[in-house]
Symmetry: C2
Subunit: 499 residues, 2 copies
């Protein structure tokens, strides 16, 4: 088995380089003094380019081909077989992008991101438009390099969700959209919930202490992780034994940091519990964007916004902020943290309307890519869809078409995976409860170990051994579907709003 | 000039890799969760080995040779000429060590360092002895690989102090030792100073605020730096625009963190002010260990322990710790912070006895290297020298031969540079005051700008353009000498102790 061993040595080496790049990025986003930006950008792009070159070199290709021949004699479920299979898939894909194109894209996205920060600050779409145009050209060339079977957008989507097709997403979204629109309409006819208790004065240290208490209870391992503060929260993994969370506290907004920390904790627990047996093999990370997002959303929404979680934890929350929530009942608090209300900003939206923000972007991205609408008309198209789906029109482009970084950073094709993650979170959670009824009882007691163990056993440990569709079927017995998610929304919000 | 440009591109690339390694190390020593250690060690050694391989490759050698031919037509003081000259020196030296030997040494030193931590904790020299033996063998092979003109120890010393010879160090030490021994003897006959006010209760936050005030006043640029906490304080530079300090606070020890921070600030200001014109060229770092140490010691001792510094800053120090120092006069405080007292631990020793700790190590290292004493007899030899030079005998090996990490980490040859840095700090400071008398007046007013500017203009900006001896002559007009240092010790401590 010598060629497979050689391949694994090279994969470990590439993995170490990727680890270094991630540390450089984490430091940039947490502690780096402002003056260090130029030098750091240069170090990151140097190392990233070098990593890409190594992972697409002819030498690596030869290694992969040799390993594939050896793997023919292995069981199709053996770890080595799966490592070789995924390495071959990665290599074939990465190799389709010429090195010069990768460098050009990376530079264009950096420039676009800086321009986007300025343009958003001034709500000046015209200043960002040339960068969006350039990024769209890069996306179209990406489509050409990757190729596609059914629709051009498939190539972009496939960067974040391997083997997922646009038409599959369309089908799932078509099932969810009418349900969500109907739910939003019905909720809008009910008396509004007073959310103001969530925006009182919450000491930042106490916010952190409560968040740490909650995620420790869930199973986040601080010996192999930590929390730092940053402007745009994220989770990052430097291998399974160092998976970090970042958070941003706002003294007048309790849910933002709390649910944000729980969200990132979901990502981090996934990475912390990827099998030791695939350490440093290149498949020791999350399976895909949507599978990753299913974990952050499961812990954020199905646990962190649930009545059963708060029934156990609310007294502890009240104790962290003496006097602040004395007049707020558990029932009121749970309603407040689950309020459905059409709003302008995706990342601040509730569980129900969130999907409409995603559907809007999914449609607009395809229109832009296919030149069905021009870049200059994007703000108008955005606003029209906001009015159609959410009944509100952004007062400025900063709160509309310019709100997200994704189109600046080259993330076209990324948005749909957020909603797919929502759908999958419920499909997984329902399966867990069905297979192990004890999980429901444990959670009611404030114990999350059995849920943690089910996820570890059925999902986390496998990392990227299988493609997303395979992973989902293995964990839940069925392909990704929207039924459980739709039933969950109707059940939860039906009860909360007495529909 | 195309080959020199190619060389500079490659140097920038190697510099970026070194930057990445430094960030990985900084994070390991400040924020990394304990679980991340194994993976991080692997990433660091992978990247370090790769950097070494690239800097010693035949391709790099060809580049250097071509650049040298081009440089023949350049002025000997032009930046490009100096970059090529130093690259050739580095390449020739680094290439003498085979890659396999570098890997073997690195692993041996890692193992020795872990063993040393345990052995020191238990004061068990026998447990460390086999590692010291192995490290000595590695040192002897290092000597063979590098070669030497005069004495084997030259090869070890040269790793930290290019072109410095053992006999040069010996000559300087022979000048200083009798003066220091005499000074210590005379001081021991004077009434002891009560140092207890330095060990009262000093709030850590206030310690940090005061240290930040002091080093901001000196000229440390926080836009291109920061302070973090660590177990073993150090300074690290990721290029001139990101030079970080680390510190360790002890609530019952004021001088430790304060003088430590000023010490690291001296290193950091040097790195922050290396010329923009040599950014990322491989010569954009400190000139040598001793020159670097001259900067940390200049700010720590000549400024930070001076009466003129405290005359301006003592009221601010008292204000940071309300009530704590009310009964302590400026005069008492200055005497306390400059107390001379033979002690066991080098890093806690005063300005005068410090050099005796170094001389002891310098002699013992040569004895060990040349097999004049056996590893097993090292504790006894250590204790005998402690008794001879300082009049005290360590009660345990943890406080004796096991106290420093250097022999574990492969730093044999390093110690002498600490004392050379002491000597040079005064030679530079005297030259600055002589050339610009305004500096003395400014410092008396609490203004450090003119000292900062003199150092920037005469030393810092040049980085590693010149070899240490050249650098010293350019800055002070003379080679390294001990006269100014001896005069400084006699003047300062003669006055403090009324000798």
């Amino acid at each position: 088995m010598s060629i497979i061993d050689d391949l694994k040595t090279e994969l470990a080496s590439i993995s170490n380089l990727a680890h270094a790049v991630e540390v450089l990025c984490w430091d940039r986003d947490t502690y780096m003094p402002e003056g260090g930006a130029r030098q750091r950008a240069s170090a990151i792009s140097e190392l990233a380019a070098f990593t890409h070159a190594r992972a697409t070199s002819d030498a690596f290709g030869t290694l992969v081909a040799g390993a594939q021949r050896e793997a023919d004699s292995l069981a199709e479920d053996s770890v080595d077989f799966l490592i070789v299979r995924m390495s071959a898939y990665d290599y074939e894909r990465l190799k389709k992008l010429p090195n010069a194109f990768v460098a050009e894209s990376s530079e264009a996205h950096s420039l676009a991101q800086s321009a986007w920060v300025d343009a958003k600050g001034k709500s000046d779409f015209a200043a960002f438009a040339p960068h969006l145009e350039k990024n769209l050209q890069i996306s179209r060339r990406t489509v050409e390099y990757y190729g596609y079977v059914d629709q051009p957008y498939d190539a972009l989507l496939g960067q974040f969700e391997p083997k997922m097709l646009t038409k599959d997403v369309q089908k799932l979204f078509d099932q969810v959209r009418p349900v969500v629109v109907d739910l939003v309409r019905k909720i809008s006819q009910r008396p509004p919930v007073d959310r103001s208790p969530l925006f009182r004065n919450f000491d930042e240290g106490a916010q952190e202490r409560f968040a740490v208490e909650a995620i420790t209870r869930f199973g986040y391992d601080f010996r192999r992780g930590r929390i730092d503060r940053t402007v745009h929260p994220f989770e990052v993994s430097f291998g399974r034994d160092d998976c970090r969370i970042t958070t941003k506290y706002n003294v007048n907004d309790l849910p933002s940091a709390l649910l944000g920390t729980i969200h990132e904790c979901g990502h981090a627990m996934y990475e912390q519990n990827i099998g030791e047996d695939i350490r440093n093999t290149g498949i020791d990370n999350g399976c895909s964007n949507s599978v990753h997002e299913s974990q952050s959303r499961l812990w954020e929404n199905l646990v962190g916004r649930s009545e059963s979680f708060w029934r156990r934890m609310y007294p502890s929350l009240q104790a962290q902020f003496p006097g602040v929530l004395d007049d707020v009942s558990l029932d009121w608090f749970v309603r407040a943290i689950n309020t459905v209300q059409p709003s302008l900003i995706r990342i601040e939206s509730d569980e129900v309307t969130y999907n409409l923000h995603i559907i809007l972007r999914f449609e607009l991205e395809q229109d832009l890519l296919m030149d069905r609408i021009n870049v200059k008309d994007a703000p108008e198209a955005w606003n029209a869809k906001m009015q159609e789906y959410l009944g509100i029109t952004p007062p400025s482009d900063a709160e509309g078409v310019l709100q997200d970084v994704h189109w600046a950073m080259g993330g076209m094709g990324y948005f749909p995976t957020y909603s797919l993650g929502n759908f999958l979170s419920v499909q997984l959670y329902d399966t867990a409860l069905e297979q192990e009824p004890a999980i429901g009882r444990d959670i009611a007691q404030g114990e999350y170990g059995s849920l943690f163990n089910w996820l570890e056993r059925n999902l986390w440990r496998y990392g990227r051994r299988y493609f997303p569709q395979e992973t989902i079927v293995r964990a839940t017995g069925r392909p990704l579907e929207t039924g459980p998610y739709i039933a969950y929304l109707q059940r939860k919000f039906g009860a909360l709003y007495g529909l």
